[in-house]
Symmetry: C2
């Protein structure tokens, strides 16, 4: 049976450390750290996610603001982002996804102050991640999901250097930056996606299999090399509850280590949002 | 015997087209397009490269400026970049590599106006490439080498979608952006490098093998799958002359198509520099 990679445990430890760091920074700044979320319209899935983030902010001693704007007024939405950009009391800004489908997400992301872009959406931050995850000696704002994957693997002392990591998925928030980070960590990296021919022939070669496709329980045990580390980044709402992209029980019989869903990557990802907000505070003030 | 992928022929055709485009833009702007190269100190290899670029600029009707600055004064170097940034007569700025080893190349690249950064060095441009090669509907400034590779492959109608592309090398000017572009073109992409274990086991799987490691004639026929397309991005000066990273004669017996060195990727890469300067002109003026 595979080792269960317990994201909840890691996130708990991180939240204690973050609470101390945030209290310390707040003392020196003279005001609290604030995470501002900007959303357009309503969405059930994102409301539940934002609820988690709000709870987490409270736990680590950070203020949480939710800016609920109309889905029919893009200028007002961008105007709010720009107000938050220049507001010195706001440490980090997060956009709630999805944006209305008729808005250009790249244009909206470009309006974020890169120093407050804790989700790493601005192309300036994406470029820094792409160029190795560091820039001018500073850690870049890595999008939370890939940051969480790397953090979890390293926390379990799983070697990345020289390993063959195979990714399923190439999204801008998960697959692409995760590939860049795995390359920076000296893994040999294969990126597969919807156009890949004979997917199992690739996944079966993986020492580390990273799955971020958003298809419930797609990865079956015959797609996994015995002894592989399997990281399930998918979160799918099904009639039977929350499931990942991997058939957890069956793949556990083959893998040497595996992340459950829920309780795997998700909690670590949320903790990375806090870590990025702390990083943003340090980037914005020399006393933080 | 493999089809020879003739970069000189493609570059010649491109230079005719570029000459017409540049003449047309110049007419509308009322002044010539200018490529400014900034270099610190002297370097024999880069002097020969800059000689090629100057000749190419003359051929396509573009002005070429070479700014030779001291290798011991970084502030003066950056000051010159910033003067060129704001000079409306300068269309594109290229830094000559290598920079003095004690200078931080990231800091220098950050001082470039992203709209004149025809080498795609600024992280803002790197980020745009990373996020798929397009941004807000505009083509990004793709570094010349990966842009040249994609251009050459497409010019020969070599299908990228669904193909397994294996790269050797992960530099910020070749391997990394080329991986991003191949993913954007729907290839399944494996990135290998100096830390890869059992490199031939990866290269032998490649439908398209892209070699950018800078080790003369490293790739031998036994590393190549019969029928593969082999792109040699290496340029190595040896006592026997200029050679690539691939054993050309021997690999030609195995591959279905191959780029020679010289006369393969090099000339197309130079043409991409001109294409990016034209793109920069259009980005800077609505009449261009």
């Amino acid at each position: 049976m595979a080792l269960i990679l317990d994201g909840r445990r890691i996130a708990r430890t991180l939240s204690w450390r973050h609470r101390d760091e945030i209290a310390d920074i707040q003392r020196r700044l003279g005001h609290p750290l604030t995470l501002a979320v900007v959303r357009a319209g309503k969405n059930k899935a994102s409301a539940s996610y934002l609820g988690q983030i709000e709870k987490l902010c409270r736990r680590v001693g950070m203020e949480y603001q939710e800016h609920a704007l109309s889905a029919s007024d893009r200028e007002q939405f961008i105007g709010r982002i720009c107000s938050l950009n220049v507001d010195p009391r706001v440490t980090g800004i997060m956009l709630s996804w999805p944006l209305p489908s008729e808005w250009d997400p790249e244009l909206v992301a470009m309006t974020l102050d890169p120093r407050k872009d804790i989700d790493g959406l601005h192309p300036l931050n994406a470029g820094r991640v792409f160029l190795g995850g560091q820039f001018l000696g500073m850690e870049a704002f890595v999008p939370n999901t890939p940051a969480g994957v790397i953090y979890l693997l390293r926390n379990y002392d799983i070697t990345l250097s020289g390993k063959h990591a195979v990714l399923i998925g190439r999204s801008n928030v998960a697959g692409r930056p995760l590939a860049a980070l795995m390359i920076a960590h000296d893994a040999t990296v294969t990126v597969t996606h919807s156009r890949t021919v004979d997917l199992p022939s690739h996944t079966r070669q993986a020492d580390i299999l990273l799955v971020a496709m958003g298809r419930p329980q797609f990865v079956t045990p015959d797609m996994v090399k015995p002894g592989a580390v399997v990281v399930d980044i998918g979160i799918n709402v099904t009639p039977g509850g929350l499931v990942g992209d991997v058939q957890y029980d069956e793949v556990s019989e083959v893998a040497s280590a595996i992340t459950p869903v829920p309780g795997g990557i998700g909690p670590v990802t949320n903790a990375m949002l806090v870590a990025n907000t702390i990083r943003a505070a340090r980037l914005q003030s020399t006393v933080a």
